[in-house]
């Protein structure tokens, strides 16, 4: 779970700090303001520990340096690392994060029970990207969660990019391994996560909402011999390529929850959930995302859509979500770097460019009315 992210001299950011809530987080901003970059950096830090500890080796700065370099290159796809450094930056690039880990508590639980939540504690990450005169850019990890106990749990995050992957899922992982392709690593990571779900036991989270989602799609996505297939409610299987694009996205969300790819304590980063989704399907999608946030899965969304924002607002006003922690961030480009405005309600942040664009459009309509 991501608690805080501070970005210094990275891409469009001069200095920006983001505080995330453990519940629902929404990042708004125009194109090229760095919304996706915020999500990708948050994703990189939240999965650093699970990735680095995977091989049960000790955590060292050197290993972390190599990991972050590879991950930054894979996530951002620059031709060389120095391209992520903000142009004209006088000081070095620095990326800092606090990631919340869970220290397990001693409790004996029954096999049908979920493990008890641990004690939560934020742990720091701090990396610097320096520009050498000869060798180009290099990464130095100056702080890592060295104080975290060996058994601290950092559940793996999930990043859902704006383009859906269901239709080209088959072979995607090997494509990444064989060729240098322009898709960033979030696509591969998602495919890998979907191929190796944590458990075969279906999740019991949000049963009613997921049932409705499955009814809308007409079934559920399942993995059959490495292929994603739609198991239809009325029986039989269908290739997901034949599904409408919006349904593929909803199907994937259903799959991620049902197969426990998303677990309480983990973070779901979703870039533009509205992409290729007609407004009628946005309501069920936002309902599931908000429901997940209420079930202990941190949700961080980046969106352009006024419709999505308004659906979120409607849900958050409902009594059942009154206690749900939330945070809104708006990004504004400026010559001094992207500026961030943050608050716990949508009206606390400014600008909401989609709202301003809507009013400007009303003005243009007014001009041609008479």
């Amino acid at each position: 779970m991501l608690k805080q992210l501070t970005i210094t001299n990275f891409t469009a950011f001069a200095k920006a700090r983001f505080d995330f809530s453990p519940g629902l987080n929404v990042v708004v901003g125009a194109n090229a303001t760095g919304k996706t970059h915020v999500l990708k950096l948050g994703y990189m830090f939240t999965r650093a520990w699970p990735d680095l500890k995977q091989k049960r080796l000790s955590l060292s700065e050197k290993r972390a340096d190599a990991y972050f370099e590879e991950k930054l290159m894979g996530l951002f796809r620059p031709e060389s690392l120095e391209h992520v450094v903000r142009k004209g930056a006088k000081t070095s690039t620095r990326l800092q994060a606090f990631v919340v880990g869970q220290i397990p508590t001693v409790k004996i639980y029954m096999p049908n029970e979920s493990p008890p939540p641990g004690i939560e504690e934020p742990f720091p990450w701090d990396i610097e990207i320096g520009l050498g005169k000869k060798e180009g850019a290099s990464i130095r990890t100056t702080e890592l969660p060295s104080k975290a106990a060996e058994n601290t749990i950092f559940p793996s995050p999930v990043f859902v990019p704006s383009k859906e992957i269901v239709s080209f899922f088959e072979g995607l992982i090997s494509l990444f391994e064989t060729y240098k392709i322009q898709l960033d690593e979030t696509y591969r990571d998602l495919a890998v996560a979907m191929t190796h779900p944590e458990s075969r036991q279906p999740s019991e989270l949000l049963p009613q909402l997921l049932k409705e989602l499955s009814k809308t799609i007409g079934g559920e996505l399942v993995l059959e011999e490495g292929k994603l297939m739609l198991r239809q409610s009325e029986g039989g299987y269908m290739e997901p390529q034949l599904l409408a694009e919006g349904y593929r996205k909803l199907g994937m969300l259903l799959y991620l929850v049902r197969n426990r790819v998303l677990q309480p304590g983990s973070t779901l980063f979703w870039d533009e959930p509205e992409a290729n989704l007609n407004p009628q399907l946005m309501r069920p999608m936002i309902e599931v995302l908000t429901g997940l946030a209420a079930q202990g899965i941190q949700v961080i969304l980046a969106t352009h859509s006024l419709f999505v924002l308004r659906e979120i607002e409607i849900l958050l006003r409902e009594k059942r979500y009154q206690e749900l922690s939330r945070s809104f961030s708006a990004l504004l480009p400026s010559k001094q770097g992207v500026k961030v405005s943050q608050g716990t309600a949508i009206e606390d942040v400014d600008p909401i460019l989609s709202l301003d664009a809507d009013l400007a459009q009303s003005g243009r309509f007014m001009e041609v009315m008479d």
């Binding site: 006024l306 308004r310 607002e313 949508i346 009206e347 606390d348 400014d350 909401i352 709202l355 301003d356 809507d358 009013l359 400007a360 009303s362 003005g363 309509f365 007014m366 009315m369």
Partner: protein
Amino acid sequence: MPNVIVDRFLFDLPTGWTCLKYDDCGFYRAHFNAVASSKALDLLALAPQGAELWLVEIKDYRRQRRTKPENLFTEIAHKVRDTLAGLAAARVYVNDPTVQVFADHAMRVGKLRVAFLLQQPTHQSRLFPQIVDPANGRIKLRQALRAVDPHPFLGNAADLTTKTSWTVTPP
């Protein structure tokens, strides 16, 4: 039952309410308007026992559309700010006892409410049933005025009649 016509809209307020057409009052016209070209709201309404003060702005997009939708909300925020400043000065303005007493009560209320009465032409287009989508307008109004009233009102005369104890009749 006090009633008042403001910008051709008839406001019927229940007994115990008092109101002031601030934009029209002598204090503002002759004096406070000159303070840094201050702006003024159309109507101020005080609830019985000074429980709350309503700051009301009226725009009739059916008749005149001088202000573009994207500028509406900054304009209202300026008017609210300037009107509150005007009231602070009016409460010690002895030349007009009516305005002075109203302002004195207005400055003692426990709650400030903002209402933006936006009357719009209807059936212009299927894609634009109203020029300004009230749901979007409300977010924008809250953004602009959350320090004064976190739940400001935006709607037409019928909506305002539903939301308050007043009866508001459009021209």
